[in-house]
Subunit: 468 residues, 2 copies
């Protein structure tokens, strides 16, 4: 407000626009097939149908009746692929409905929200204002590349070597490790050797990414999704499990691996940072915690490490080396969401949320300390089950009812209990958890009202509430 | 030399390196599936086997015995995909040999050539010097985007509209033109309409590109090869055949098309210019003239226009608007080659060459005027026919012998005459020309000596001769 009053030399229109219309850029990424596309589709759908406010009780601007409407706008960055909301809605509204195709690279969409201001002075200038919400969707792997910026090749190699000492990476990395063992790291560079090492390492990463293991920490991220960089030397290196016994020569295999690692950081990671990350206002990280339960302790531990790496990156972005290197982040809110909360019974939502909180409990302090507010929430972008009851040993017990992904008829089932505390590694016995996936709900009229959801209104309030 | 003598304050090693070792960046592009991959593979192979100088009589440094050897080096730009020479050679040396896979984007390879200097002073410093030859391969479409930089959306639209008045574009563009006719250009922007218009226009370009028509002028180039830009709004527009009857509103379809055209120029064309084109020293443009003969006058006319657009771009790069906009080109040599010269009888080589010259006769003057030396040559990167003779009406007549692409045994055939003058449009009657394609030759030992070729030595001399 002060800013505005002191700027009376500007033309009045421009002052009004600058002060009254706002813009916020939400970045959405995810770990382990967490449902980014469905989340963004639902978020847009909720906003477009925000006038039917009954489905968004916790989204204040809608609940108080201050919303005047929302519409899709032309995205601001014409060189970024469009997020295809239209295609996702066509799939969810199909007969039968299907889950939208997942996105594989970056995409963008803009929504303009018209609302009545709560502020007396702004109201005086114009009764209705506009908030432009840009949503950018990008792969979690890109975000998990950020920590490389502060690691030397040797430090990063050590991290990878350490992670390969435990299963499932120990087994999955076997072929790559055996190939590495045959190499003389002090021998002169050979393009074919580097290429083969990178191919085996990439194959290892792809195995880790397979839903069977569902690991999140897949560095360098572009190895599994190269796009236009396919075949470039900066994607043809790999970490090492040990160093050359003598001081490496300048044209050695070791020196070349290191050089390519640095080139990757320069041309891929820094580029992502400068072209995209610096412009984000708020970051959403979706996590499929339930999949980790199903898959086991290793997946969970990997996910936890990934989450904490992300938190650390934002810490660095605000006050650490990234901030010194470049211009730092604008990001002031960081939102971790455990998706698919409709796959557990409603009374277990708090447990799911608490579980996610525990995963990041050690780092959360950092983030808020540095001016980043962190929030965790369990939500369902599109709710595809209904609460139901059954009896067990004569007692009424909560269960859920929905159509499993591989079935045609709805079933009622007890999906299992979410543990309140993180189980000890030995407690993640096979078959303890079995949260199943469901088909999307059949909706008579998808444009009739906002998609059924769990807690999307709370997500909206955290992400946008302070902007109205 | 002078430069060197005046720099005695530098450490001697650095002076020697700067003065003695040189570097040259050759850019290779092509029109109408002209055989870029085979050309680069042969060029590299000839250099690597340059010590067996008998196959390169016109390449002075080899012929005079000054060549000390050549080897492949690590490419300088690690973020550019590698040109896969190894794979191309494996295919050409296979049993049976096959033509290498064509490349679809940019790629790079570096060769280091060791040679004895002819210059007395340089000889004194070091008897053997190194020339680093970087070869960059990129699609002809990218080069043909350059003229857009000096065209407004309206000017470009007019050019396209003009070209769609004649066959085959008249028929091929029908569906797209009919869709355009249904649009109200002054109506508000609709993403779906822009997308559909772009899809129809892209389909039209793909039809033009089909070997059946083999057209070269496919602007904007990224429409048919989007890579990571797939789905970005800057690839979702098209030229217009007429303008709105009233002054277009700011949020109209027309205004949005224009805005995206400008964004394409900014994010795609200028980016290519600044990231790549400014660093090229010499440009090679390969042209499959024989295909134009087979396909007809329209293909020929389109190819001629493309060649002259390229010449004009280089003219602008040296002294025109491009030079003013940016820093201008370094390019000092421009080399047009009619490839597959082994598909005609040896006595027709001069006619093929003369034909190519005639295609660019109007522009050639410009290029040399601005300090760009232009050369035209008919060549065969890999010679897959042998000269042979047959008799016709009692006379001995030249013919060629090779294995046609769709056959298993060699045949001897009279491939037809290359006209000495450009035939009038009505003379390009169907079936007048029928130059057929051949399988690559079977080579007993592909690493034994340089690949059989026609005039690759002259090409090398023009491109590199002055650097030794």
């Amino acid at each position: 407000m002060k800013k505005w009053l002191s700027r009376f030399s500007y033309p009045i229109d421009e002052i009004v626009n600058r002060t009254v219309d706002r813009q916020v850029k939400l970045a959405v990424t995810g770990l382990s097939r967490s449902g980014k596309t469905v989340f963004i589709t639902s978020l847009v759908h909720q906003l477009l149908h925000g006038l039917e406010s009954t489905h968004l009780p916790f989204f204040q601007v809608a609940n108080l009746g201050h919303l005047r409407g929302a519409k899709m706008m032309q995205q601001p960055d014409l060189h970024i692929p469009s997020f295809r909301y239209d295609m996702a809605i066509a799939q969810l509204g199909g007969e039968p409905p299907t889950w939208p195709q997942p996105t594989s690279s970056i995409s963008e969409i803009r929504i303009a929200i018209r609302y009545e201001s709560r502020h007396a002075l702004l109201k005086h200038i114009s009764p209705v204002h506009t908030l432009y919400v840009d949503i950018v969707d990008y792969p979690g792997e890109w975000l998990l590349d950020l920590p490389l910026l502060e690691l030397t090749y040797e430090q990063w190699s050590e991290q990878v070597a350490h992670s390969c000492q435990a299963e499932p990476r120990l087994s999955l990395s076997k072929e790559w490790r055996e190939f590495l063992a045959t190499l003389d790291l002090n021998s002169p560079t050979a393009a074919a050797t580097l290429r083969q090492a990178a191919e085996l390492y990439t194959h290892f990463l792809l195995c880790c990414k397979d839903p069977q293991y569902g690991l999140s920490l897949l560095q360098p991220g572009r190895f599994t999704m190269p796009g236009d960089l396919k075949g470039a030397p900066l994607l043809e290196f790999c970490p090492l499990l040990e160093y050359p016994s003598s001081i490496p020569r300048e044209n050695s295999l070791f020196a070349e691996m290191k050089r390519r690692y640095e080139s990757y950081k320069e041309h891929v990671v820094k580029k992502f940072y400068l072209e995209h990350l610096v412009s984000f206002d708020r970051q959403i990280v979706l996590v499929d915690v339930l999949r980790a339960f199903n898959t086991g302790y290793a997946t969970f531990a990997d996910m936890r490490e990934a989450i904490n790496m992300i938190l650390k990156s934002f810490h660095y972005g605000k006050s650490g080396f990234l901030n010194k290197l470049f211009h730092g982040f604008k990001i002031d809110k960081l939102f971790f969401a455990a998706t698919k909360a409709d796959h557990v019974t409603p009374n277990q939502l708090p447990a799911l949320e608490r579980f996610l909180q525990q995963m990041l409990i050690s780092s959360q302090h950092h983030a808020s300390f540095d001016g980043v507010t962190t929030e965790t929430l369990a939500l369902a972008s599109v709710k595809c089950t209904q609460a139901a009851y059954t009896t067990f040993q004569g007692q009424r017990i909560s269960c859920i009812k929905g159509v499993p992904l591989d079935a045609d008829k709805p079933i009622a089932l007890f999906p299992g209990e979410v543990p309140v505390e993180i189980p000890m590694p030995e407690e993640w016995v096979e078959g303890r958890f079995n949260f199943i996936e469901f088909k999307p709900p059949r909706l008579a009229n998808i444009e009739g009202r906002g998609l059924p959801h769990i807690r999307m209104d709370r997500a909206l309030e955290f992400l946008l509430g302070d902007k109205f």
